[in-house]
């Protein structure tokens, strides 16, 4: 039952020239990523919604019909009119203008919180994963404890300790987001340590640590981007929540949560516009980030639809 053998040429496998050759072509992957992302309607709607908010934040000075804090007792608590699209609050401040200026404060808070937690969390996670052993174990157990807190309660505790203010909100929200980044960086570090290119780098005698970090960073970029969009949404919600109960930004400032607090003070008078519009602004922004995050996850994991 033996078959006649025919000599069929085998194609030789070219050996990798260097460790760099084994590294995934990051630039190319990013290009592919953007290409598929552009075809994802969810992500694009999210991006558009965020774009609107960023536009409002950047150009509030020029778009807003009134300054953020122009008190005018002649037009106190007015429902929406042509002069005041979203009505006025109990100090006669124009709510439309305040919502626009609010985009600045809220985006700044969220951005600062996300950047702080990104830096602290990533360094923490990368070191934990690199050192390994007992240190890693203890470090991750600390993250468990942080995540063991119900999020908002923890934020309240921190805000309570620090006293009201924008910095307080930034710090309270940032601390909550550290574990997410730490875990991501740690697991990326662990896989980078055992990966082919780390081995190859070692084999050709390159600086192991340098290579590790050089490859770690591009590999983490995309998942970090995804986590960050979702963390942005969380940050805005939590910041607004803290301001609403008076532990965050003072009600004198045009911050969305604080504006809702002002509206709540007049709640029983039926002045619905005072809290409705700032709330819509929050929902719009957070929805934008969540849609973008969803779209990103779809793109990264096509099985999820």
């Amino acid at each position: 039952m033996s078959a006649p053998t025919i000599d069929l040429p085998t194609s030789p496998v070219t050996p990798p020239a260097s460790a760099a050759a084994l590294a995934p072509p990051f630039r190319e992957r990013l290009g592919d990523f953007w290409y598929t992302l552009r075809r994802n309607p969810t992500a694009m709607i999210g991006l558009f919604m965020i774009g609107v908010v960023i536009f409002a934040a950047l150009f509030a000075q020029w778009i807003a019909p009134y300054p953020a804090n122009e008190i005018d007792f002649a037009v106190v608590a007015q429902p929406p009119t042509r002069e005041h699209l979203f009505g006025t609050d109990q100090f006669g401040q124009d709510i439309f203008s305040r919502v626009l200026f609010g985009a600045r404060i809220d985006l700044m808070i969220a951005l600062s919180a996300v950047v702080i937690s990104l830096i602290i969390g990533s360094v923490y996670g990368a070191i934990s994963g690199y050192v390994g052993g007992l240190t890693d174990e203890v470090a991750m157990r600390i993250m468990d404890i942080l995540q063991g807190f119900p999020r908002f309660i923890f934020a309240m505790g921190i805000a309570f300790a620090l006293g009201p203010g924008i910095e307080t909100v930034v710090i309270a929200t940032a601390v909550l987001n550290i574990p997410g980044y730490a875990r991501l960086m740690r697991s990326s570090m662990l896989s980078a340590k055992t990966s082919q290119y780390a081995m190859a780098a070692k084999a050709i005698g390159a600086n192991h640590r340098a290579i590790l970090f050089k490859h770690l960073v591009p590999n983490c970029m995309i998942p970090i981007f995804v986590i960050s969009t979702l963390q942005f949404g969380w940050a805005i919600l939590e910041a607004a929540g803290l301001s609403f109960i008076g532990l965050g930004v003072e009600t004198s400032r045009a911050e969305w949560g604080a504006m809702i607090q002002l509206g709540f003070q007049d709640f029983l008078q039926g002045h619905w516009w005072m809290y409705t519009f700032p709330g819509l602004a929050i929902a719009w922004t957070v929805l934008g980030f969540n849609l973008l995050g969803d779209g990103l996850q779809d793109v990264l994991d096509p099985r999820r639809r």
Binding site: S2, A3, P4, T5, I6, P9
Partner: protein, 345 residues
Amino acid sequence: MATTATTPHAVAAMPAETPMLEVRDLETQFFTRKGVARVLDRLSFSIGKGEIVGLVGESGSGKSVTGFSIVNLIKSPGKIVAGEILFEGRDLTRLSEDQMRDIRGKDIAMIFQNPRGSLNPVLTVGDQLRQVLKYRQGMNKKQAQERATELLRLVHIPEPERRLKAYPHQLSGGMAQRVMIAMAISCSPHLLIADEPTTGLDVTIEYQIIQLLKEMRDLTGTSVIAITHDLNMAAEVCDRIMVMYAGKVVEQAPVLQFFTKPSHPYTLGLLASRPSLSGGDEIPTIPGNVPDLIHRPTGCAFHPRCRWATQECISIEPLPREVGPGHTAACHHLEEVQRDIAAAH
């Protein structure tokens, strides 16, 4: 078993007068983001009653898709777009989902590769067997329990009562595949499609599973389509072998003919790349890759990888030609191929 089994059948490879399954010009396509992949390309073949037919080819040749097309369980974005699947006189492609569901399990059953993953991890073996017997055979609890035990005994699982209480993760791969076979034959199907049933199992277990498949055929007279990339296994179990390439049958022959007089260049490549027990140096592989099914090669799909290819192969698709009794091959250069083989010896 004997109570519901159909008449015990003598082992006989007879491409019968009226085949039990006849596939005609079947086209299954996958509508992917990058374009339409024509995975099955006007595929035609037939299976006789009680016959074990091996469906061989590299991964990506469309073997498994053929199996799933027959029972209409192709995962999206795959779809049957043309052709007929005549099973005992009925065209399966025209049946409603409800009619099709009634055929699955009772008339046509399947077993899969990765048997442990194919069993439900949170249900016991007994739950899964009894479920089939309850909903497909209308048995009550007691009957189902008895029959389940009997089925496990039939596939040579020791201590069946204890195994019924086991969960899939507590079984070895071979044991899990036996359970799968027990489930598949529980409703005495007329056709059993085994999709790479021994992949991932070690050699001795593989042999036992193959023997079991043969035994089940002898016992129940069911026809079997054995999908595999393992020619040794096919040699062991099949009456007839069909070679698939790029969604077409390129050669089919009774098993003896197949190994003594392989005719299609692709078959020769497959046979040459078979790991031999005599050891030796390297396993020669067929150069090149399975073709891109979105942009299929013109003419003969194998021409980019074929050393006999000529201008004719690039422009004209070869039709199956008779090589011997029940033996066909689709190639323009059968004669040259045979001459070169003779010269090599």
